[in-house]
Amino acid sequence: MAASYGRDRGAGTTTLRRVPTWAVVAIVPVVALIAVFVTDAWSGNGGATGSAATADAVAIKNYTFSPNPITVKAGAPITVVNDDNVTHTLSANGGAFNTGDLGSGRRDRITAARAGTYAYHCEIHTFMTGTVRVSP
C-alpha cells in the first residue's frame, strides 16, 4: 500500500511538510473547542423562553409546548408564541382551535369557548402534543 506514497507529489505536499506535527494533531480539536465556546457565547444558554410567562400563553420552544398542560377559563384567549426557528401549528385534535402555520417568532391567539379538555398537536411535527384544560 505505502509503496505509492511519495510519488506524484505536488507543491501542496511540500507546503504541508513544513507544518509541524503538533500543529497537525492540534488543529481540529482547537477549532472544535473555539466553535463550541463561540456558539455558547453567541447563542446564550438555550434555555427556557420568557415570552410565555403568563398563564394564558403557550410557548413553542425546542419542539415542545410549554406550559403543558395549560388551564384557562372558557372563552379566555390563549396566546401562542413560536420561539423555534421553524414553523409550527397548535391545532386541536377535534378542530376546536387552530393557529394555522405559525412561523418563527410569530404569535397567534386561540380560544376554547366551552369547558373541557382539549388535546392538541402540531400539524407539521405530529409528535408534538399538548393539552388545554378549559374550566367553566
Binding site: 505509492s4 510519488r7 505536499t13 472544535a32 463550541v36 456558539t39 447563542s43 425546542n62 407539521i124 409528535f127
Partner: protein, 143 residues
C-alpha cells in the same frame, strides 16, 4: 510522508467537521435535544444528532491527521465518505418518509449548510478514494 492529493483529504475533513458542527449546534442550541417520537434499539432522532456531531469531529480529526500519518488516509477517507453519504441519506429521509418518527420539509439555514458540506465531503473524499483505488487491491495485483 504525506498522502497524494492531500488537498482533497483536507477539504473532506473540513466539510465533515462543518457537518458535525451543524449537528452539534442543532442538538444543543437548535431544539433537537429532546425529540424522540420513535426509538430504534435506543437510537432516537436526538441521539442521532449527538452521534453525528461526535463522529464528525473524530473523522475530521483522523482526516487531518492522515496528512501526516498516511496509514490513516484510506480508512478515514472511507469513514468520511460513509459519514457524508449516511448523513445525506438521513436528511433525505427526514424530508420525505421520515426517520425515527421525525419528518420536516422546512428548509433552514442550518440544513443548507450541512447539506452542502456533506455534498462537498462526499465529492472530495469520493474523488480521493477513486484516485487511490489501487491501494484497495491486494498487493500482488496492484498496478
Amino acid at each position: 510522508m504525506t498522502p497524494r492529493r492531500p488537498l482533497l483529504l483536507l477539504v473532506g475533513g473540513v466539510s465533515v467537521l462543518v457537518s458535525g458542527y451543524v449537528h452539534y449546534y442543532l442538538y444543543f442550541k437548535g431544539g433537537y435535544r429532546n425529540i424522540a417520537p420513535d426509538n430504534f434499539a435506543g437510537l432516537t432522532i436526538s441521539r442521532s444528532f449527538a452521534i453525528n456531531a461526535v463522529a464528525g469531529f473524530v473523522i475530521a480529526w483522523a482526516l487531518v491527521l492522515s496528512l501526516r500519518f498516511p496509514k490513516l488516509a484510506v480508512p478515514s477517507a472511507l469513514a468520511g465518505a460513509g459519514f457524508a453519504a449516511a448523513t445525506l441519506a438521513a436528511y433525505v429521509l427526514t424530508r420525505t418518509v421520515g426517520l425515527l418518527g421525525f419528518s420536516d420539509d422546512q428548509l433552514t439555514a442550518e440544513a443548507v449548510v450541512a447539506f452542502v458540506a456533506e455534498l462537498i465531503a462526499l465529492g472530495a473524499l469520493g474523488s480521493w478514494l477513486v484516485g487511490e483505488r489501487t491501494f484497495l487491491r491486494p498487493v500482488g495485483r496492484a498496478a
